[in-house]
Every structure is written in C-alpha cells, then in structure tokens.
C-alpha cells in the first residue's frame, strides 16, 4: 500500500513537471515565433544620438585575437558614445556550445561572430536578422570580398564577413628542391599535381613512388596531405565538374559521373600512398600537423594555415589550386561573419549594424585585424595593399589568395551542413580505404545525404 502511494506521488510529480516543461517550451516558442523569425530591419529608424544603447557582442577567440578585438571595440565606442558594448568571448568549441543553448533560452548575444560554415544553420532556422536592406543602403558591394558568400538561394544577405578564408595550394620549397622538381605552377591540372607528388612521396627506405620497389605501407613523406571537406575533397570534386548539392542546396547530386572521376583520382592517390588516407592521418597528433612538420610536400590549405607554417619556420609558398580535366578551377571559401540575432530589438539591431559597418568600412580596423594574420581582409582596398600583400615574409605569393576569388565558392553550406558532411565523410572513408568501390560509395552517400536534407527541408 505504502509502496503504491509512493509510486503515485512520484507519477504525480512527474506529470506536474512534464506539464510545467511543456508550458515552458510553449512559452519559448511564443518568443521564437514565425519560422522566418525575422523582423525586417528598418533602415530609416535611426535611434536618436543621445539615447544610450547597450549591445552584447559574442565572438570566439584565442588570447592574441581577444586583445585586438577589445582594442577595436574601444575604438568603436569612442566613435559611438551612445553605444556601449558588452562582450562574451570563449575559445571556438565552447563558444558554439554555449551559443546554441543561449539561443534556445532566448538569451543570444545581439551580434555575434559566426563561423562562415554555420551562418546558414542559424539563418534558415530563423535566428538571424536579414541584413539585405542595410547592405544595399550602406555598403558599396564592389568594395568588398565575399559579401555574396552569405547570400542564400533567394538573394537575402545574412551577415557581413569579418575575415575570409580561401583555399590555395601550399608547397614545401625545401622538399621540392631536394627532389629536384620545379615548383607548382598556376597551369597545373590535378594530374600534373599527382605526377609531381609521385616523385615527392618517399618510403622508409628512401625510395619514391615512381620506384618499382616502393613500399606504399611505410611512407615517411607524402606528396599531398589531404583531409576534410575544406582542405581536401571538395575542391577536387568541384573542379572536375561535380559537387554535393544542387543550386537550391536541398537536393543531393553526389552520384554523378564527374564526382566518380574525381573520387577515382583521389582513391588512386591514396592507394598508392601518395596522398594521406584517413588512417595515415590518425598517426599524426593532428591532421593539420602533417604539412607544417614537413611530412608532406603539398597541402590544400586555407589562409589561416599560414600561421602554423610560419611558426614551424617552414620554407614554403602558395599557388593557385590546380584545374580539373576541362580547365575548371575551384577555391573553397569560408566567410566568417558578423550576424545579428533575430531577437535583437530595433535599437540594438541598429547599434549592432553600426558595429558591423565600422568593422567592414574603416581602413584602420581592417588593417589592425589583417596584422594578426588570421584571415584575408574583407575590404578590397586593404587586401590589395602592402598591409596584406607583404606582411610577414612567407608566403611570398600572397596574391594567389586574392586571385583565387575569381573561382571561389562556398562549401554548399545549408542548415544541415555539418550533418551531411559527416555522412559524406563516413562513406568516402570506405572508398578512401578501399573497402567499397567508388561507384557504390557515391550511390550510398547520395541516399544518406538526401535523407539528411529531407529530414530538414521536407
């Protein structure tokens, strides 16, 4: 009897709590209303200068960039005495873990720094403010790199870039010299790259991949290190004429003959030990470490990789990424961007926009940030000046980053980007390690990716 009474009390408690929880979440939904969740920005309604506005600004950073960011914020508040800025910063991983819970609780920062690959995740879930009108009104689009990388299929802009990451081919000059091979040229196709990589791949007994007795299982120096979507397969697929999603970003086009050709080129390189395969990468502390440690002669890398290469004291330079069989070229782009929370009221959103405008338009800000050397400046005039082009000794050919904008594109980012990328990786790994043939892999990847897309868009 007593036992049953205890049970019923427990059940009652749970019931009450469930109802309470349901109530809470309903309350939450009330504030996160309308799937768009976007109150159109009103460019006309500038807040009167004397009215004080406080905005919360969130960003991820390491120690060095944190100090610089605080400096820039002080400059900003000096110029805009009516705006006070409260900052929230954390290292990359923690910042995003916290951000999602903050948004769920309706306590997101008014303006935050979004990884370029995640802008659409937030935008398509209605947590960002559409900044199209502001951009049209306040910015001359011709002056900036990469504004279009935050544009969705319907032409709305969801943020403005804080700094741009763009992919090029990095090569280790010392290893090329040692092998007696001329440096990569802009006219290279992926086949040319592989021919050079063969001569740059060395096994434990010092034989290169051109040698008949070369041992592909004990490679000590790889021709090309190859990993992830950004710094690996995506550029190859795209320059072969393939890709992952169609132009609406809601349909998988993985299972194409172009992709098959590109994947076969990759798998062949991995089987022969010329490129690092996923298992090779695991034996390094980090897949990023292969190139800076001198264990690979070439890598596909974004601009941020300059830092690690310079810290390692590497003698290296960069070139444009090679072309596919039909002369097509593709450079992957990640435009890390400032975005405004959909929850920010008009005054806060206006103040947040002032900050974004300050960031993008002021030469001083752009120069200061460029000096950190972690991203390509957004403003064309600064990127094309000595501040960017000759800052630091290496790489000498910084112009390659700017030239790559001509054939640059995003990573088919959409609301479920992380999830479909992991599905592709999971399948590609099987092909890379020779478990399944390329054709079968792409068919399975196509199904898996479409399922992920349907899970969100249908």
């Amino acid at each position: 009897m007593v036992k049953r009474k205890g049970m019923s009390v427990l059940v009652c408690m749970l019931l009450v709590l469930t109802v309470f929880a349901a109530g809470c979440s309903k309350g939450g939904s009330g504030t996160a209303d309308s799937p768009g969740g976007v109150t159109e920005p009103k460019p006309g309604t500038d807040t009167p200068a004397q009215e004080q506005t406080e905005i919360t600004l969130g960003y991820y950073s390491d120690g060095k960039s944190d100090a610089k960011m605080k400096e820039l914020i002080t400059t900003f508040t000096d110029k805009h005495p009516n705006i006070t800025v409260k900052t929230q910063s954390a290292p990359y991983g923690q910042f995003y873990q916290k951000l999602d819970t903050q948004i769920a609780a309706g306590k997101a920062p008014d303006v935050w720094l979004s990884d370029g690959a995640l802008v659409m995740k937030y935008a398509e879930r209605g947590t960002l403010k559409d900044v199209t009108e502001w951009i049209n009104k306040d910015l001359n689009k011709e002056d900036y790199y990469g504004l279009e990388f935050n544009k969705d299929a319907e032409g709305h802009y969801w943020g403005i870039p804080q700094g741009i990451q763009i992919g090029v081919l990095y090569y280790n000059k010392d290893l090329f010299d040692k092998a007696g091979i001329s440096y990569p040229e802009d006219s290279w196709t992926w086949e040319d790259l592989k021919l050079a990589a063969e001569k740059l791949t060395v096994d434990a007994s010092g034989k290169t991949a051109v040698d008949a007795s070369f041992d592909a299982n004990s490679v000590s120096q790889f021709g090309l290190t190859f990993f992830s979507i950004t710094e690996g397969w995506f550029s190859v697929l795209k320059s072969y004429g393939g890709g992952i999603l169609d132009e609406t970003n809601t349909k998988s086009i993985v299972d194409s003959p172009e992709n098959k050709q590109a994947m076969e080129w990759i798998v062949d390189g991995m089987n022969r030990g010329i490129f690092t395969d996923p298992v090779d990468l695991k034996s390094f502390q980090s897949s990023m470490a292969v190139f800076p440690s001198g264990s690979a002669a070439m890598r596909i890398g974004i601009y941020a990789r300059v830092q690690a290469a310079n810290e390692a004291g590497l003698n290296y330079d960069v070139a444009l990424l090679p072309t596919g069989p039909d002369g097509k070229r593709f450079a992957p782009v990640i435009a890390n961007s400032w975005v405004i929370s959909a929850k920010a009221d008009d005054a806060k959103a206006q103040a947040a926009w002032e900050w974004m405008k300050f960031w993008a338009t002021e030469d001083e800000v752009q120069k200061e940030w460029a000096a950190l050397g972690e991203a390509v400046p957004v403003k064309k005039s600064v990127a094309n000046s000595d501040v960017f082009l000759t800052s630091g000794a290496n790489p000498a050919n910084r112009q390659a980053f700017l030239d790559s904008f001509e054939f640059a594109g995003t990573l088919d980012t959409n609301a479920v980007w992380e999830e479909w990328v992991s599905k592709f990786n999971e399948n590609a790994e099987r092909a890379f390690l020779g478990d399944t043939p390329v054709e079968e892999t792409l068919k399975k990847a196509n199904e898996d990716i479409q399922k992920v897309l349907d899970g969100f868009y249908k």
Binding site: M13, L14, L17, T18, F20, A21, A22, C24, S25, K26, G28, S29, A32, P35, Q97, D100, T101, I103, A104, K121, Y122, R125, G126, T127, P278, V279, K282, S283, Q285, S286, V416, E418, E419, V421, S422, N425, E426, E429, R430, L433, D435
Partner: protein, 320 residues
Amino acid sequence: MIPSETPPEVQKKKRRFQAAGRSRLLRSEGRWGLLMVSPYLIHFLVFVAGPLAVSLYFSFTKYDMLTPPQWIGLGNYEQLFQEPLFWKSLWNTLYFAILFVPIQTVLALILAVMLNQKLKGLKLFRMAHFIPVISSWTVILYVADSIFNPRFGIANSLLIKWGLDPQQWLNSEKWVIPLLVIIAVWKGIGYIMILFLAGLQSVPGELYQAAEIDGAGAFHKFRAITVPLISPTTFLVIILSTISTFQAFEQVYVMTGAGDISSAGGPRNASLVLMLYLYREGFSFMHMGYASAIAWVLFMILFSLTLIQMKMQNRWVHYN
C-alpha cells in the same frame, strides 16, 4: 492484540487518537524534517527531476534547440530502432562491457589480494596503481599513443623486431574496442582495487586462522572465505563498472578522435559507443529530441541490467 476481541467503537476511537498524535508529530517534526532536507529536495527537483521530465518530453518531439519543439509522438523511438548506427553503437557498448567488467573485476581483486599483504613499500605500490585513476584522459591518451601509435609507437617497433606484422591498433576495427578496454582497465583498476582492499580488510582474521588449523591451503582459503565474504563489494563493483561502461564517453572521444567529434568513434564507427552517438546526434547535428530518446533507451537498458543484477544477487552475494 487480537482485533475481534475489542469492540469496534473502542478500536475506532483508539485509531483516531493515534492518528491525531501522528499528525501533531508530523506537523512539528515533519516540518523540521522537510526544512532540513529542502536543500537536497530543491536541488533534486531543479537539477534532476526537472531536466529528466524535460528530456522525456523532448524525446517525443523534433527539437533542434533553435526552433520550437514539434510533437511527433513515438517518432524518435521508431526511427531509433530502425537506425543501423544505433544498433551498432549498442553492440559496441555491450562488447565493451562484456570485456571490461569481468577483466577489471578479476584483475582488481587479484591486485587487491596481493597488495593486502604486509610487505615493505606497500604504500608505494598502492599509490602507483592509483596514479592513472586521477590522471585525465588526455594524459592517458599521450601515454597510450606512445605505445600504440602505428608509426612511432613501441608496440609496433616490438612487433617488427620479432618479425611480426605491425598493427593499426586504434585505427583498426578489430583492435579498437579491445584496446580501449585494456586502456580503461589500466586507468580504472586502481579505484576498484581500493574498494576491494576495504572489503578485504573487513574480513576477520580469525576465519583464516581457523581454516589454517583445518589445513586449508592459500587457494582454498581464498575461494572459501575471501570470495564469499567480500561478495557485497564484488556486487557493488560489478554494478558500478557496468554503469560506467554504458556511460563511457570521454575516453572514446579522446582516444579515437583526439578530441575531434567528427572523427571520434572510428574507425568506420567501430568504436561508436552509445554516449558518443547521443552526443553526436544532439550536439553536432542538433537532433535534441532524438538524442533524448537515445538517453531514455539507454536509461531503460541500464535500469533493467541493474534490476537483473539485483535479482541475481541472492544467489551469490552473502551479507554476513
């Protein structure tokens, strides 16, 4: 007192009197009692029962944290049971537990018996076994990597020296779970050993003396006295280790992905355990509802396993 012998009215009156006394008592003592336990009670309601109920609710919804939850009934559970990755992660977890629990329990017991002797330098040995327990998984990773790294590790250089084929160790589907078990046993054994030591020290010495007089050998004493008398400790150890294997997360996360969630659980999902699967679905892919469903299934599994173990204890656990 035999009820039929007392008249009903008297009985009723007596009961009412007793009840009144009890309620007065309840009013004073009960209030104090409630007041005293209220810090715990509030903590329990806010941080345990609340989240539990919320997660149960979410498990019936499609919820990505950024948009409001949508009620989909049993949808998540249906999807879960059709998902090959869920079954794979369940099997990986069970495989881990099947290897880990017996190996750790037996080895820790043997170690505890050995370290229960009166020898010189005993404290040093006990401490040496306890050091991995207090080290973080990241430190353990570096130690394990220096042994099992396929390129630079000691294990492979030994294999090559003996003329055997080098292995991919943590990168091999065949080896990854057994290796994770070995590493986890090495890290956890010190803690379990301490529990056994406490159990061993509560066994009265007279029993052994009596057995010796009867001519029992060391093994016989161990089997007939030590094992039954520390069976409550063994029972506790088995339940604790079973629960800890189902909760294994950090070790797999660190060991197989070096802290990178996209490669953790590899190779080819061979070490994807339930908690890792839950984390990936919930925090990387934002399927919070689905992740809550995984959590509840995990809870049901653990609950039934513990229940079975509780029922079985009558057969082999002896309290005094």
